[in-house]
Symmetry: C5
Subunit: 363 residues, 5 copies
């Protein structure tokens, strides 16, 4: 989960290696959206040269690259927009910690999307953003999943302030969308934990601990993304760069509140799951204790009785074969009512024991 | 408990969705109180236009909106008082983390009330405040519960400094009332924990752990509210805005002390409940140990004896059917006093065992 | 222990409610000490007017109010010395967190004394101080206990620098005395914990855990007082008010060192008691393990043997009543030396088992 | 693992003691690389004087000393490059915490390489660097292992920016290589932990806990290196010395990101291994519980039955030898179908017990 | 261990009470060393007046007082060197937290030496230093142990920079020696913990937990000294007083590094010992589990068999005394091969059970 890709140790800085998904290099798909208040163009390309040809300096251009398997695409983009090779390396070595960096010609942001896949496993995908004055380049690992559809919809429809604003607002809108999509993931984990809690109290079993352990790992991972996401938004708010307009900062503050609330959620789910683990331990401990008590009571009541009946099952001979009496060899066996008396004695022993156990609160 | 409402991920910022309670949109009830040192008006409306008609710039107007199901009401208020849509969104998405924000025309505060409902379950309700120069707008989720009755009483009676002061003092009075009402909630949890403690020491049972777990969850939740409440009051104290007068700050400092004491209480109850969990574990562990010891002593004493009587219950024949003696086949059975001797031997074995166990401090 | 008194939620700020001890309002006893280098007067009053009549602006006046049951006394004092009603409210709502506040006419300090009462239970009592230029007002909950006798003695005897100094030094002397009296309390807890430790290692029992739990609660409480006490002394050192002279600060630094050492002590006792709890757990766990081992060894050795003797206690008939032989029905019973051979076999089984257990390090 | 060497306590500061590896002083091997954009010389010496003879002030000289057993070498270098004796002492007392210090003539950096040796044990080796304007001196404990081969390769081939840059870039390249080599080490531990996790869930055994404990120790050790490594890189970034050019800082920021990610990795592996330990505990607790339950059920079912058959194995005589009847002495034995009835009774008892256990969820 | 001495609570500040060791006041032994680059005098006195007589303002004088039982000595020194009474009180109330204070005429430093005594118990001894321009006064609790012999040796021999430097360098040399002597103490604890670790894995026993607990307490105590020692050195480095020369600061920085490394060591030993405690717990838990398993398997296999043989040991009569057959009363006993069949049945039962246990991984 959330694996970090890295260059070979010792390799030259900014060594670019094509990004592989399950061993395959994914061909880049380039979606370009160009808009201002009145115009809106949405196209898809595979060649960077075509993209560059259509750039219009008066409009905002959003270039979304899906698939990082083709170095040529990235390098042509880098050449045209003067993207730093170290930044490109971070784009390719996915699984990075979210961060933001101010460069000469753009703002570089790394964010992480999370989602549950079909098998309900927690997945992450890195989104890298280059925010310029009038362009925004986003790069994603693969084309299958992203969380930007709503934003595209808003762009197309011209609703809200998005078409009136610059690239920084678009970047905010994407970041906000990424952050918003943490909520359903966290809520899924939260409701799973709640469900586990109610089952745990009824009947603790081993697979639950395992599940709980998985949730805790998931939360640990999410935490590793959410904390730096907060720092990213915070630095966007407080670094005074030309790339973030004051009007956008009001929205970023809202976005910042969301990251704080996410952290709050993550931390409280972590606490709850730690509490559950403890609850589980107590539950199991108490059960063991109860089982022990039952065992002890039953064993303790019957063992002396079994000993007694064993005594009277012994074969001491009352007299030798030839009739010479062997004195005191189990005369009880030859007493009238001996059996009944013994049964009575045993009943008394059992009752005394039960009384003692009751007083010790074992029953 | 304390659920966070949120917009659909990816939706436009400041998308307003009516707030539902148990699936129903609650119609807004608007209580307006207008006062200065000599005048006092208290009215109830359902239309915002009526409210706006009666506004008097020389008096302090407190507009309390109960029920957030009707967007029209909120939007008209927002239009007149220039409330930012993002703030309104926070008002509607209840369960927010307490916070305060300075806007151009007002101070925006989110606070959380907590109380135990009839079923003694911990509940929370969000109160949003817009503090202007001469107005205060408060918005609550539902009309059934609030903690402002005492403040209204003070306004009506003209007691204290409240009628002499501006909207900031009123906001302080409401905040203080909200914070004061955390005390009974915490004290209830505290006394529940104390009661649990005394019962736990007598006889630990599974439902107690579950209760303790619930209290811990409740404390975790309260903590999530109390900490940012402190930050809110602190920022009101230290942000130099025109909306908080210096004279009010003396009172806010008092309020700040209360939040610090609340945190103190929450933290020490958390510690106590963690200690109780530990106590519980030790208790159970020790009980298991005691039970084990009894079981072991009884079993260990009787098992060898039972073996012995088993030996003398064997049917080895002293001679064949036709009288040929089978040497050494259980001659003890044919000894005079054999039975008594065996009983004596068994008594000696038992006594030795008891002595050993006593020395090992198991008895 | 250390209960916090509070006003009714929602009540007006600075609502004064007489302070009750066990439900009774304690009449104030006012001790006044007035001194300079050459003069010394010590008197006791019940009326504030008499106190005010004797005030001498050239001397230092220490007014010590014992018992907070009479609002009139406090209010007259407040009126004369311009004490803020919010401060008075803190005086009455005892159990406050220690704090210091700078007001226009005085420095307001809340401190907490702790002591073990006759039943060796940990108690706290709040001392509130108003430090003016030439006066010091202290207010205590009840007259039975305070820690100021040594200071009074020094004042009477004229020893040390105390008679040469102003009210700030007197305030320091009282604070120092309060802080010094934490040491015996902590040392008592420390030696109790040490004693518990040595007993715990010999024979863990349930009442010890309970005791340990109590000590931990006590330490948690002390911690809640010691940390803010440190902050109080620190702020006295670093806030540049006219009420604390530079010459006094040298002494306050000494006092500060003491609070740091107290914190050190509290923290290390907390660590030790946490360590003891752990030790206790291991002890119990290990004991359970030992008990189990004994049980297992004894049971495992005897159960197969008991089975064997049970086998030869069966009544399979060697021949029918009419003498028809039933082949292979327990021929061992009719073997010569069968009994001895069986005893031998059982001895071998037992020895093998003991050897195995020894190798598994269970014996 | 990662032992810290130290001088004899009380010895003079900067007392130089030859560094021994397994008790042997290793003779220094001096590799010198001198380069600028167009020239490149790589030589190996054993005498410092030869090194000094070849120094060229217009080129960057990298002097790599492998083996610290010969004080003379170090002292001649120190004399020529004005290295401070305290720095030399740190070079010799390996196992230092990574740190950086600015001196008059150079920047002094201590870093730690880590690797798994052939036995897969975690090892550390100290690298000390003196970064001057046009020279870089690195000192390593032994010649067998270093992580600089890739950098040498880049120097030889003239690839990248390394040949165009000064000594600071070379130092960066070496630091980066050191930091990069933490990744494989951490990933090895990470995959070991993952493997352990899957085995743990199947069948917990004692050697796993031991392994887990070892990993945790390893992570604790790595943490002790990674945290200060981050500080080192950070101080290089922010201390404004003449020894680090602005152009190099872009690369150092990349390097800093790596240290932050390393810390992230270390911390999350630590959390995972703590979670595993907990998982292990729960697993074992639950198993004990299950085992107990089986034992209890079997014992509880059979013990009463065994008692019953014991009862009917008693030898109470129905009549005396001479035929006088002994009334009520086990008449059941002489009832028709007595045996079958008893078997039935026992079956009923067993069934009731099983039903009870089922209801208690023990089966 | 490391007891804190304190004045009676409430006593005047700077109340001097002779320091007792085991109830006895130790007579002060005054060693004086006076030196500059060319001169060196070393003498021993018992009277302070003699010391003062020999003071030479152009040389550095080190006055080392061993034994604090004689107030007259301390007071005469204080009078001559203008030492503050509060400082003297700290000298006498040993067990102080390490600290440094700048006074008008000197720098006051409290440090703590630690060592293992003959019984290998951890001991501490306080060293108080007054660093003036040309004098250094050190005060120790008792003459038996100090760590300054190496420094005296360096003074005598004139080696190193010590004779060329002022009192501040001497103070540094002593502090450095004190700090250096923490290493052997910590290494002893470290190797004890390592040894314990290897034994723990083989066979956990109760005395080990106790030992571990002791080590943890020792580490807690050391930590209480090491942390403030670091602060002391740090404040010497950064407070700009006339008493510490810039040239000395280079050495102090080295000293500071050592305190940081000590903290590092203490913290990692603490972590290791916490890990060991956990390992111990798991070990014991696992052992209990194994023991349980063996017990359960043996018991479960034999209990049904024992029941069966009990059945056939019952004495149901096949016919009445007078030969009337009692039908179905244990006909098995009168079957040919009945015994063998029963043995077979029992073998089958045992085999099935063993198979089941094997499948449940209990064998």
């Amino acid at each position: 989960m959330f694996k970090k890709r890295r260059s070979t140790p010792g390799s030259s800085p900014a060594t670019l290696v094509p990004h592989l998904v399950d061993g395959k290099a994914i061909k880049a798909k380039i979606q370009v959206v160009e808009y201002d208040l009145t115009h809106f163009i949405e196209k898809e390309f595979t060649e960077v040269s075509e993209v560059i040809a259509m750039l219009d300096i008066d409009k905002v251009t959003w270039i979304n690259v899906d698939g990082l398997g083709d170095l040529a695409v990235l390098e042509s983009l880098a050449a045209h927009f003067k993207l730093h090779p170290l930044a490109l390396e971070d784009v390719l070595n996915t699984g990075q910690r979210p961060k933001s960096e101010v460069a000469d010609d753009y703002l570089f942001i790394i964010a992480q999307m999370v989602y549950h896949d079909q098998k309900l496993e927690l997945c992450g995908e890195q989104v890298s953003m280059f925010v310029g004055k009038n362009f925004l380049i986003t790069m994603q690992e693969e084309p299958d999943y992203d969380v930007f559809e709503h934003v595209r919809e808003r762009l197309r429809s011209g609703r809200g302030t998005i078409r009136k604003s610059k690239a920084d607002y678009l970047a905010y809108a994407l970041l906000d969308s990424i952050i918003d999509h943490y909520y359903p993931v966290l809520e899924k984990i939260g409701s799973d934990i709640d469900e586990l809690e109610s089952r745990l109290l009824l009947n603790p079993s081993r697979d639950m601990v395992q599940k709980l352990h998985e949730y805790k790992r998931g939360l640990t991972q999410l935490r590793r993304y959410v904390w730096p996401m907060r720092d990213v938004v915070n630095s966007l708010l407080h670094d005074n760069t030309v790339y973030v307009a004051e009007t956008t900062k009001i929205y970023l503050r809202d976005c910042y509140d969301h990251t704080v609330q996410l952290m709050d959620l993550v931390e409280s789910y972590r606490e709850v799951s730690a509490g559950l683990m403890e609850l589980y331990h107590s539950s199991v401990g108490l059960r063991t204790n109860e089982v022990m008590r039952v065992l002890t009571v039953i064993t303790s009541v019957f063992i002396p009785l079994t000993f007694l009946v064993g005594v009277y099952g012994m074969n001491f001979a009352p007299h030798t074969d030839d009739g010479k009496p062997l004195p005191l060899n189990m005369p009880e066996l030859y007493e009238p009512y001996g059996y009944v008396i013994l049964l009575g004695v045993m009943a008394v022993i059992a009752i005394i024991q039960l009384y003692v156990f009751r007083r010790m609160k074992w029953l």
